[in-house]
Each structure stands twice: as C-alpha cells, then as structure tokens.
Symmetry: C2
Subunit: 205 residues, 2 copies
C-alpha cells in the first residue's frame, strides 16, 4: 500500500515512525489510526488521508525543545509560540518538519495535524476525526471518556464538543495553561455541547 500523499510507502513510514518514537507512542499512533479509520468509515472520510493524518500526527512529539526552537527560527514562526510547550509545538511547529521530511503537501492533512491538540473554529471532517480519535483511542482511560466514545459513534460534533469541554476542565483543574485555540474550539462547538442529551454533564465536567 502506497500512501500517495507522501514520498514513502506505508512500510517505510512505519519503519521511520518506529525509529523516532518510543514503543508506547508508536503503539498509540497505531491505535489512533484504528480509531480514526473507524470514524472515517462511519462519517465518510477519505480512508487514505485518514490513515496518513493519524500515522503522522505525533511524528514530532518526541522532538527536543531545542529542535522546536530551531524550527521556529528556520520557518520564522510567530513569536507567541515561544510561550507554549511540546503539547502545542508538536502540532503547530512539528508540521513544518513533517512537510519537509515526507514531502507532504495536502492542505487538509496538514491542517488536521497542525491543530490536532487544540482543534479550531472551523475544522474539516478529517481534522475532527483526528482530534477525536486521538482522545478516544482504545489505550486511553480517564473519567468521562466512555461518554465521548459513545457520542463519537452517533454525532461527531457533539463528541468533539464534549471532548473539548472536558479538556478545558482537565487543564483548569490541573492549573495548566490553556491555548486560545482550545477556547476557540470550545466556543465554536458550544451549540453542540448544549444539544447533548445528558443527565449528568455537570458532574463529568
């Protein structure tokens, strides 16, 4: 199987991923691909693009901070990125390394990877699928996950909305910084959050 959108075969890509990622993260990536493909079939998204977005999404996750600083310099990225950390950089900065390394040019895949941690106001079906799949893949385990998993089978936007609200609650409770894009996603998908038929959403949050 060739991946079409990059300059490697699937086998070559998997080898490269195994080389740069820890065993745990490599397996996470495969589980995200599985979850994403399941959603792609359910909602009618291109399966090849879905595979590729999933396989590449954490490629930069284990880059050193020094590598990210170098990328920000090389590509003259906005100064405001300096205020953030790996959680943001592996998407928004890492994508520049991914594009170069793999010859990736597809704008939908690029955008999905860039904002897979935070989401954003307007998201393609592929971006939604990657964002949700990364959260619900079968290796994850935390409070509130079952509800998002169940919603993801029925209503992707509602799953995305609840995931974002739960992420905000998690960041807040743990006194972590919250990226403006995460808030943007929360506000944009708020109508879907409100539409969830639920009896104990407040407890989940």
């Amino acid at each position: 199987m060739s991946l079409t959108y990059i300059n490697l075969s699937r086998e070559q890509l998997l080898k490269e991923l195994e080389r740069v990622l820890s065993k745990e993260r490599f397996e996470h990536v495969l589980r995200v691909e599985k979850a994403a493909l399941s959603l792609a079939k359910r909602y009618g998204c291109d399966l090849l693009k879905t595979s590729l977005a999933a396989l590449l999404h954490d490629y930069a996750k284990e880059f050193s901070d020094a590598t990210f600083y170098q990328l920000m310099t090389d590509y003259q990225l906005p100064q405001e990125l300096l205020a953030w950390n790996n959680a943001i950089w592996h998407g928004q900065v890492g994508i520049y390394a991914i594009k170069t390394k793999f010859g990736l040019k597809d704008s939908t895949i690029i955008e999905a990877i860039t904002y897979h941690t935070t989401g954003q106001k307007k998201m393609s079906l592929l971006a939604k699928i990657l964002y949700v799949a990364d959260y619900i893949e079968e290796g994850r385990a935390f409070v509130g996950l079952d509800r998002v998993r169940a919603l993801a089978k029925q209503h992707l936007d509602q799953a995305l909305a609840l995931q974002t609200a739960q992420t905000l609650a998690y960041l807040l409770k743990n006194q972590y910084p919250i990226h403006p894009k995460t808030l943007e996603t929360y506000n944009a998908f708020l109508p879907h959050l409100k539409a969830i038929k639920s009896t104990n959403l407040k407890e989940t949050l």
Copy 2:
C-alpha cells in the same frame, strides 16, 4: 466631594446612577465601591480613581441590546464583538457611552471599566482592584467566594488568579461562552494561581 475626572459631582453621579440602574444594581455598585476602596487602602491605589471606576463600572449594564448595537455602529467597533452579549458589551462597548456622557478621559479608569468583566494580560492596580471588588463585594454569595475574599486581603494577584480560574470553571460547567480575554487573564496570572498555598483548590474548581 467632586470626582475631578468627570463633569459631575459625586451627588450628581449617584443621582444619575439611581436613574438608570435598578435598585438592586445601584446597591451592588455601592458595595463594589466599598470593597474597592478597602482594597485601594490596602494596596495603595488612588482613592478618587477607585471610587469613580467602581461607581461607573456597571453604568451600561442595563442598556438594551439595541443600544449596544448602535454604539458598536457609531464607534465602528470590531465586528467580533457581535458574537458576544451584555456580559462583555457593558464593559467593552458601554465604556464609549460612559466616556461621552461623563467626559471621562483618564485612561487608567477607562481601561479598568472596559475590562472589568474579563480582566486581561496586563492590568493596572486599579483594574485589578475593580475586577476583584466586583467579585467579592459583600452582597455576593457562591461557592469558593470566601477563599477569594481571604486572599484579597493578603495577595491581590493570587485572589485575581483564583477568581479567574473559578470564573472559567463556572462558565464551563454552565456551558456559557468564554471570552478570549478571560482566558488571557487566566494564562497570565497562572503563576499566581500555582503559588496559592492550598489543600483543596481542585475541589473549589
């Protein structure tokens, strides 16, 4: 007592406030002034400016939506304000009516009123005092308030940080939109939130 920074005496201003505000809100405004003056004495802020910022902060709170739309048009304010509501407008839009009506020109007072609902990244002492006083005034009653009141006597930035985190949690739990400025305040004051000596902050949030 003349208020110096506006074209009315204190008595005239109080009469005007009574005219445009409901009895409940007028009394809230007086309680905010009391709380703000107490903080101003504790932290060394100009008492006259503090009084005036407190007395004027909710002047536009009972304006109709139509009035806010008119102000946005008249002053050509950013389109993005349209996505918000009274909670944001009475500060960020109302300030234009307040400046005109009272001949208010002091930039510190203007900024404190403009962002009294959301805070922002950089806040003057006056802005901090108004933001916190509005939250802790003696008529308020909600979970987590006692802790902010206690902190406000010892460490204004920590009180402000906790207030903002609690506000975010409240908005999230009630599925309300969250303004980017509120998030900006949370992120900017996060070091102060982390510095709070506390055993059960997670429960409060």
